[in-house]
């Protein structure tokens, strides 16, 4: 008479020696897998520290003078540089982009003489017009407008180069000219710009640690570990598992 209980089993309570060895292999593999994947991320989380970018330091060194309205020309350039470095990031949400553009426009149009300001505003208007045309354009017309925008940007950057400190044609100059708006707050003390310190801190502070700052084969170490090494480990685990299982099946004479 067969009993139902004699066939009871679970991964934790195998029925025989073969099952026990099998269980040990499986649980060891799973443990390595879990620690390698999740353990590392928890370690990363555990040791990380909020680390500011250099641009935040520059911003914070000039912000008190902004509040009191005592910025020197050099301070303006530093301040503008910090703003442009944030504006150039692709993760900025639209609301924050507007605040940054307003601040950049405010500084840019404050430091230049009236004659240059008029010239800059005229170029900004032309750029806005070209950008609205671009939305509807296709094929050669699209490429033509793109080229005109690029030329206009360079021209605008050249006009303001000595005041902004950004070399015409450079990435910073493109970000700078792309941020300029004719309508902007009159001064940096404007209430609409009060969110600026918070925005700068938010985008310029990152979770960093020894694991993120160490370089390995060119990668930040944690990035290499997750994007490259873990995949190698997964394949290795699978190969080792197969070899172990088949070796044991052969040794015990079990035919599947």
């Amino acid at each position: 008479m067969e009993s139902s209980d004699q066939y009871n089993f679970s991964i934790f309570r195998p029925r025989n020696l073969h099952g026990k060895k099998n269980r040990n292999v499986i649980l060891t593999m799973l443990l390595i897998w879990a620690v390698a994947v999740f353990g590392f991320q928890f370690l990363l989380r555990g040791i990380e520290k909020p680390t500011p970018e250099k641009a935040l330091t520059l911003f914070e060194s000039t912000w008190p003078a902004v509040v009191t309205g005592e910025l020197s020309n050099a301070d303006y350039k530093t301040f503008l540089y910090a703003l442009v470095l944030v504006k150039g990031k692709s993760t900025i949400i639209p609301g924050d982009q507007k605040v940054l553009s307003d601040a950049i426009s405010c500084v840019a149009f404050t430091v230049v003489p009236d004659s240059v300001r008029i010239l800059m505003i005229s170029n900004v208007r032309d750029l806005d017009s070209l950008k609205s045309d671009l939305v509807r354009a296709t094929d050669q017309e699209y490429l033509g407008i793109k080229t005109m925008i690029a030329k206009k940007n360079i021209s605008l950057a050249a006009i303001s180069e000595s005041y902004s400190g950004f070399k015409a044609g450079s990435l910073e100059a493109s970000i700078f000219t792309g941020s300029l708006h004719e309508k902007h707050p009159e001064s940096l003390g404007d209430p609409t710009l009060s969110a600026l310190p918070g925005i700068m801190k938010f985008y310029l502070t990152h979770n960093q640690s020894k694991l993120t700052d160490t370089r390995f084969l060119g990668f930040p170490f944690h990035y290499f570990y997750t994007a490259v090494f873990l995949l190698i480990l997964f394949i290795a685990l699978c190969i080792v598992y197969n070899i172990l299982i088949e070796w044991r099946l052969g040794k015990e004479g079990i035919v599947e």
Binding site: Y7, N22, E48, D139, S170, E172, Y203, T226, C238, E246
Partner: protein
């Protein structure tokens, strides 16, 4: 003869070159060269489908168990690497930085679970489909029906993202609108799935794998070489580019007197952007919890996807099931090691505000364009992305059709049906499913990778617990399985309901709380463990599993 072939290939290349055009405009126009490549590839798929067409139900469902280990590995990889892998994954890294890597790890780490816990045991159990296994193991017609319905729903959700990817690539190549692109693409994939079944699909998957890998790797060699990184192994070479993004590249970057420029003539430069690589950076809108939840959900979902599990029925021997996982994973990793390179170069090449932030799901193709890669190679890349979507969709449609005809029609509705009738029902099921998926794909509900991750969470909450406990615990019984499945379905329903309500602009109680903790992209982090726990508790409290099931498991499945 060889000379004739070579001259034919050369003249074909010549025609393509004549039609190669400037790719400086990222979207909008009809691209002749890429279109010819795409058509040639699609014609090949259909011809292979006809040549290796299914002759009976065994061929249709399980390729007659005639597929070799390496071939099965390539088919697993091709079946697996969908538009989400080729297009969506790089897009996630481009948009969400380090959190995008949760998709890379989640979609590969799941194979370790699949191998260790499932592959050989499923093959030993000897059933064709997931509902077949569940119905048999839990001696329940109801569970067979429910799991068949969920197999269809999972395949359906997975297909939606794929059809979206097909639409995007057809749109890019043909210059037609998204809706027509989806309709044309889905018609073609439906055509060849219908005439080929699994065996034709499996042969095609091997060809598709080669196309995917070749088309995906070539542009990265070119870009790493062009931008002066270690190009012999782009999967490592792009690492220095990641570090450059973190630190910023000052302009102008001149190498040996030649400026490194993108397709618009902008300097190869970028402001310091640590958010691209630093973990769960606040500015990417992602958190540590989300990284863990996404990764876990994708891993567990991998081991519960019916169309993946189904692949283990097509190998001749149990040992082949195990080694096909290894081969499959290796072939998958070739692409997954490379995908972050696209997001990295995409980030660098689109750093100028004149380029702007690129559409995430098209980042792979846009990056190659911006990197001034030859237009024909970019065209091949787009065709490879379509191949990836096609190979997965064909597998999904077969899995969905199998659930419909084999598990619902044959087992429940008409057990005395002839093989001819079964094949006919399978084909009708495929058509209905493809039409429904096309309609939903036209709505553009999310990014490709996100849409696909819904299918993973669904599988993790419903199918995975039933397989895991069904294989590894003889005590798991029908009542426990039903209760566990109910718990998984409950979590799934709550998450999807909140998502749909949120999408339509409405709000339910605790909308933001549920939308974060039970987000539709990763709700399995709680759903899967809950389904397992409920299954165990109810099984302990109810009538034990019948003797014959326990005996079969002990003797046949666990040696």
């Amino acid at each position: 003869m060889k000379k004739l072939y070579i001259s034919l290939i050369l003249s074909f290349s010549g025609v393509l070159s004549l039609h190669a055009e400037s790719l400086t405009q990222l979207e909008g126009s009809f691209k002749t060269g890429p279109a010819i490549i795409l058509i040639a590839i699609l014609v090949t798929f259909v011809l292979v489908g006809i040549f290796f067409r299914a002759k009976d139900p065994a061929d249709y469902y399980a390729a007659g168990r005639k597929i070799s280990t390496v071939g099965s590995g390539m088919a697993i990889a091709s079946n697996w690497m969908s538009a989400a892998s080729v297009l969506g994954m790089a897009g996630m890294m481009y948009g969400f930085g380090y959190n995008g890597l949760a998709y890379v790890v989640g979609w590969t780490g799941g194979y370790v679970l699949l191998l260790i816990l499932m592959a050989a045991q499923i093959r030993k159990y000897g059933k064709y489909t997931a509902p077949d296994f569940i119905g048999d193991r839990y001696y329940s017609r109801d569970l067979r029906i429910v799991s068949a319905i969920f197999t269809i729903l999972i395949s359906f959700a997975y297909c939606v993202g794929q059809f979206g990817g097909i639409g995007l690539m057809f749109k890019w190549i043909l210059g037609i609108n998204y809706a027509w692109s989806v309709i044309i693409g889905s018609s073609i994939v439906l055509l060849y799935t219908l005439i080929s079944g699994m065996i034709g699909a499996t042969k095609n998957m091997q060809i598709q794998y080669v196309i995917i890998v070749v088309s995906f790797l070539i542009p990265t060699f070119i870009m790493t070489f062009k931008f002066d990184y270690f190009w012999l192994l782009p999967q490592i070479g792009y690492g220095a580019a990641v570090s450059d993004i973190v630190q910023g590249i000052p302009a102008p970057n001149i190498s040996e007197g030649v400026a490194l420029l993108n397709a618009y003539g902008h300097d190869f430069s970028i402001v310091p952007s640590p958010e691209f690589a630093m973990p769960w950076d606040p500015s990417t809108g992602t958190t540590f919890f989300q990284w863990i939840a996404i990764c876990f959900s994708l891993m567990v979902g991998t081991a519960g996807l019916p169309h993946v599990i189904q692949r283990f029925y097509v190998v001749p021997k149990v040992t082949d099931a195990r080694w096909s996982v290894v081969w499959g994973l290796f072939f998958i990793c070739l692409v997954y090691w490379t995908a972050p390179a696209y997001s990295t170069f995409g980030k660098l090449l689109s750093s100028n505000p004149e380029v702007g932030v690129l559409a995430k799901d098209a980042i792979v193709v846009y990056t190659a364009q911006l990197g001034n890669v030859n237009s024909l190679i970019v065209g091949l890349l787009a065709a490879g992305a379509i191949s990836a979507a096609f190979s997965t969709v064909s597998g999904l449609l077969v899995a969905g059709a199998s659930a419909f005809s084999h598990d619902l029609y044959v087992r429940v509705i008409n057990p005395s049906s002839t093989p001819r009738q079964q094949l006919k029902i399978a084909r009708i099921g495929t058509i209905i499913m493809a039409l429904a998926v096309t309609l939903v794909a036209l709505m553009k509900l999310g990014l490709i990778a996100q849409l696909v991750s819904v299918a993973f969470s669904m599988a993790a909450c419903t199918i995975f617990p039933l397989f895991l406990l069904g294989i590894w615990w003889s005590g798991s019984n029908r009542a426990g399985a039903k209760a566990g499945l109910f718990a998984g379905i409950l979590v799934t329903t709550i998450s999807i309901t909140y998502f749909i309500v949120g999408l339509s602009g409405g709000s339910l109680p605790s909308q933001s709380f549920i939308s974060y903790w039970l987000n539709v992209w990763y709700f399995a982090w709680i759903g899967a463990p809950l389904a397992i726990i409920v299954n165990i508790i109810v099984s302990k409290l109810t009538t034990p599993t019948p003797l014959e099931i326990k005996k079969f498991l002990a003797e046949q499945v666990h040696n």
